[in-house]
Point group: C2
Chain length 186, copies 2
Amino acid sequence: MSLQHAILGFLDLEPSTGYTLDQRFAGSVGSFWTATRSQIYRELHAAERAGRVRVEVVPQDGRPARKVYHLTEAGRAALADWLAEPVGPAQLRDPFLLKLVFSASAPPEVTDGLLAHLQAELEASRAEYAARLERPEIFTLARSEREALLWRLSIENGLAWCEAQLAWAARARAALAEEPPEGGCA
Amino acid sequence: MSLQHAILGFLDLEPSTGYTLDQRFAGSVGSFWTATRSQIYRELHAAERAGRVRVEVVPQDGRPARKVYHLTEAGRAALADWLAEPVGPAQLRDPFLLKLVFSASAPPEVTDGLLAHLQAELEASRAEYAARLERPEIFTLARSEREALLWRLSIENGLAWCEAQLAWAARARAALAEEPPEGGCA
DNA sequence: AGCGACATGTAAGCGGTTACATGATTCT
DNA sequence: AGAATCATGTAACCGCTTACATGTCGCT
């Protein structure tokens, strides 16, 4: 269960409420890990039951009390354990490739449309990654140069992925354009 | 639900049993989509209830009857619809990057170990992709040159991904090696 | 005697998504 | 007047994984 550990990771940087964690997920790690509120609240409760976090309730008037979660020693240990254990190979689940290989059953325009759509999307996310690298406020939580570097590298990873995919898509379209006759031509 | 559509895609290539589909998933699309038997049998039953496939029961002695599934017209239509609708952006869920960014909490060796481990795994899967491209028997189901090309492109996609990741990992390790002092040095 | 291929499934559980529910404050 | 922000959650559902259950045939 990576999500609970990611939460512990964020709480190690700064004690936070569920709401704030939601924003962190949408912001900083959003490109490679997402989480919804229900999930976050559920995991926070579970982590609390497991003794990995401690709640500090800060009453407010007119809105629900802020529940600020802090890492406990057990939580810190759980985080360290998770970091030490090796990650399995990231098996990616790519509905695009699935569609691509089966698109031979459909007219050629379908395949090309799929690729064109992919290119447009990749261009957009490439721009997003690039913009994110320019905005240094992303790294404000970083407690050291090294930590900031790691965050930057994670964004660069996404950027590299986009660029590789774009290069592949261009090659794919070119290769498909060269082979249209489908058995018979002029 | 991509899985049911992937099954329809395979059945369009060739009527098959659940068992055979399982092998197809493990083999040809295994690098970008996985499925377990329980899932496949369940989806086949669902597709049958939805009228998208038709079963032909072939009794055997000494072992369970083969249930050969065929696409119906409705199934073919469902496949075509799925192919025509655009795919959303592939949001990848990468536990490696998650661990990487939080590994600043741990000693530097942890981060480097993570990266080294990733490199080893990527090298292995790169070799696997490359080997798969060499083996033309992967494409035996292909009904045309174009179809074979699509399968080849799907493998090349994985290969490109591996190579981009490897390049990134090398850059990452170099960048991290240049920044060890953590605030104070000689 | 044991393993792998063939061939079917069920049951329990987990992680994730979507929809629902509540309600004040501040900005446009 | 309406939308966004802050702040908490519950319930239902869906897709996927893991473990369990059964049984023959052929190879080593």
